[in-house]
């Protein structure tokens, strides 16, 4: 691929896009949920989380969007279960920061998995909002769970 496309559409991203994780609905009622929407793109997603004890046990992501948004949602569904809400929030915030930093580095201590690959999207400024949408929606779901809900869909557009 050329024009930097091999950087944007890395094999890992294409694989997540082809077979997005987290598509199956949660077994029971959701403990936290939020919608994300980028009206100017038309990208939309629904995120639902199941929690047990201290940890998030499952994530359901239903995303209608481009390959980058879909892959990002899939990576989220893979990385978030098993973390506490605080750990999930820390990861989302670190990712948001990395997407706006020159080197895009994520601390190893956060165990960022395939997110490390997704930070390559920061070199395509128009697509950063696609990559961030699921993670901003995650922050919104966690706030809703804490009773700090805004009620409106999360967005990464202005």
């Amino acid at each position: 691929m050329n024009g930097g496309m091999d950087e944007l559409y890395r094999e890992v991203i294409l694989d997540h896009h082809r077979r997005p994780r987290g598509q199956q609905p949660l077994p029971g009622p959701a403990d936290a949920r939020a919608e994300g929407k980028n009206p100017s793109c038309g990208d939309e997603l629904l995120l639902e989380l199941a929690c047990a004890g201290e940890a998030i046990t499952a994530a359901h992501v239903a995303c209608h969007g481009c390959a980058i948004a879909t892959a990002s949602g899939s990576i989220l569904a893979e990385l978030v279960p098993g973390r506490t809400p605080e750990q999930a929030r820390a990861l989302a915030e670190a990712f948001r920061e990395a997407m706006h930093s020159p080197d895009g580095a994520l601390p190893d201590s956060l165990d960022p998995g395939d997110l490390e690959v997704l930070t390559g999207v920061r070199k395509f400024p128009a697509r950063v909002k696609c990559a961030l949408l699921p993670w901003i929606t995650l922050l919104s779901a966690l706030e809703a769970r804490d009773g700090k809900a805004a009620g409106l869909p999360a967005t990464t557009e202005a």
């Binding site: 691929m1 024009g3 294409l14 100017s40 481009c66 390959a67 879909t70």
Partner: protein, 429 residues
């Protein structure tokens, strides 16, 4: 990166009219006059297929805008000095030139910032003439520019907005017209050419019905002026708007053309300098039309440059440009169809469409499509194209759109088709 000039006519595609100079077999018309097209993008020849968003500009337009600032810059209608007179002449010359292009006297041409501001001028200007319960009839295929100002007006004045639905074939459902157009309809506002479907609407036919009912007819000609033969009188409308930048002219300039009686009915929305006759500390009287609708300092540089764009169109002849766009559109429709698996929107017959084609590939999201095409130097637009209700009707949130100008050729469409193949290969489709 220059392309070969003579291209074989692809099978099954009607070439432009034979006498068409460098347009034979649909080579570009005056392609060499558009300096920007010489640049490369991502190391490739730029294949510009986004003229429906904005056309590229002939060198003569760019030079005229620069010449204005280098030689004539002054405010208009104010100075007694030489520069002020020259600037005013250029500005008023543009108004007259646009009038000639549309077949109207200069006094019936209002200079605006663009089609959007012209539509807001009409919608806002009609407010005092409307009362609660009055109806506005629009269509389901409108650009937000010809939709949101009416929704906003309706909200403020208690009006009812109805719309003519779009058929599965991408045309207006005219059978619904008798029921939608009634004694309460005050305004019918519709696009001449859809910026997504390409559909050319039977504006004159609808306008005749509407005007018989006593409604004012507003035509959004943003996608048709400079692309198809058009005279104001032929459309039988009251108002017509367009933007210079989609007509090979500069940005920040547009026009409202109107029947004299229709313009008289508009209340000025923007007030201030330039648009007054006499002002006291208590009141003001309005200047004559069209100045009444031109408060503040206009974009004189753009107005000084726009006649060069219209000259280019006239030199090529609008008939030939239209033939060229039909030929490109027919070829694009044929090749997209042949690609298979794509949804193509709008009428099948290129002669019934403007020079654009929107499509959707279920395997590749429009944003990914546009990104991957861009990596090959092919510029298309992806998104809802400022027509969200229409996309809802089409059942998708976004489409990809290729649109054509006089500088495009068949090999540009070949590049698009190759690019779609490449995008599919990236996604393993």
């Amino acid at each position: 990166m220059k392309r070969a000039k003579s291209l074989a006519a692809p099978a099954g595609v009607k070439p432009c009219d034979g006498q068409a100079g460098d347009c034979t077999h649909c080579g570009p018309v005056f392609g060499e006059r558009f300096p920007l097209l010489e640049r490369t993008v991502n190391g490739r020849r730029l294949v510009y297929l986004d003229s429906a968003a904005t056309t590229q500009k002939p060198g003569a337009v760019i030079a005229a805008e620069a010449r204005y600032y280098r030689l004539h810059n002054a405010n208009v209608h104010r100075g007694m000095h030489t520069l002020g007179v020259e600037a005013t002449d250029l500005y008023e010359g543009c108004r007259a030139r646009v009038g000639r292009f549309l077949g109207l006297p200069a006094e019936q041409v209002v200079v605006t910032r663009g089609a959007t501001s012209a539509l807001n001028l009409v919608a806002g200007g009609l407010a005092p003439t409307l009362k609660p319960g009055d109806e506005i009839l629009i269509t389901e295929m409108e650009h937000h520019a010809n939709l949101v100002p009416w929704l906003e007006l309706a909200r403020r004045e208690g009006l009812v907005v109805r719309h003519i639905p779009v058929t599965d074939g991408g045309e207006l459902e005219l059978a619904r017209l008798p029921e939608l157009l009634n004694g309460r309809t005050r305004v019918v506002a519709l696009t001449h050419v859809s910026n997504v479907l390409g559909t050319i609407n039977p504006v004159a036919e609808i306008a005749a019905l509407a005007r018989r009912r006593g409604a004012l007819v507003v035509v959004d000609a943003a996608q048709s002026v400079g692309h198809l033969p058009l005279a104001f009188d032929d459309l039988d409308c009251d108002f017509l708007v367009f933007s210079a930048h989609k007509t090979y002219g500069p940005m920040g300039l547009g026009f409202l053309a109107g029947r004299a009686e229709a313009l008289e009915r508009l209340h000025p929305v923007e007030t201030g300098g330039e648009m007054i006759e006499t002002v006291t500390m208590e009141s003001a009287t309005w200047a004559a039309i069209p100045q009444r609708f031109e408060a503040g300092t206009p974009n004189v540089a753009a107005a000084a440059a726009f006649p060069a764009a219209l000259d280019t169109i006239d030199e090529a002849t609008i008939e030939r440009l239209r033939q060229h766009e039909i030929s490109l559109t027919a070829y694009a429709l044929e090749r997209l169809q042949a690609k298979g698996g794509l949804t193509i929107y709008g009428p099948r017959d290129a002669a019934r469409r403007g020079g654009l084609v929107a499509f959707h590939d279920p395997m590749v999201h429009p944003h990914d499509m546009a990104q991957l095409l861009d990596s090959l130097g092919v510029a298309v637009r992806a998104g809802h194209h400022c027509a969200q209700p229409l996309h809802r009707r089409l059942g998708v949130v976004a489409t990809s759109r290729a649109s054509f100008g006089m500088y495009n050729a068949h090999d540009d469409i070949d590049a698009l088709i190759d690019g779609i193949g490449y995008a599919r290969s990236v996604f393993g489709a």
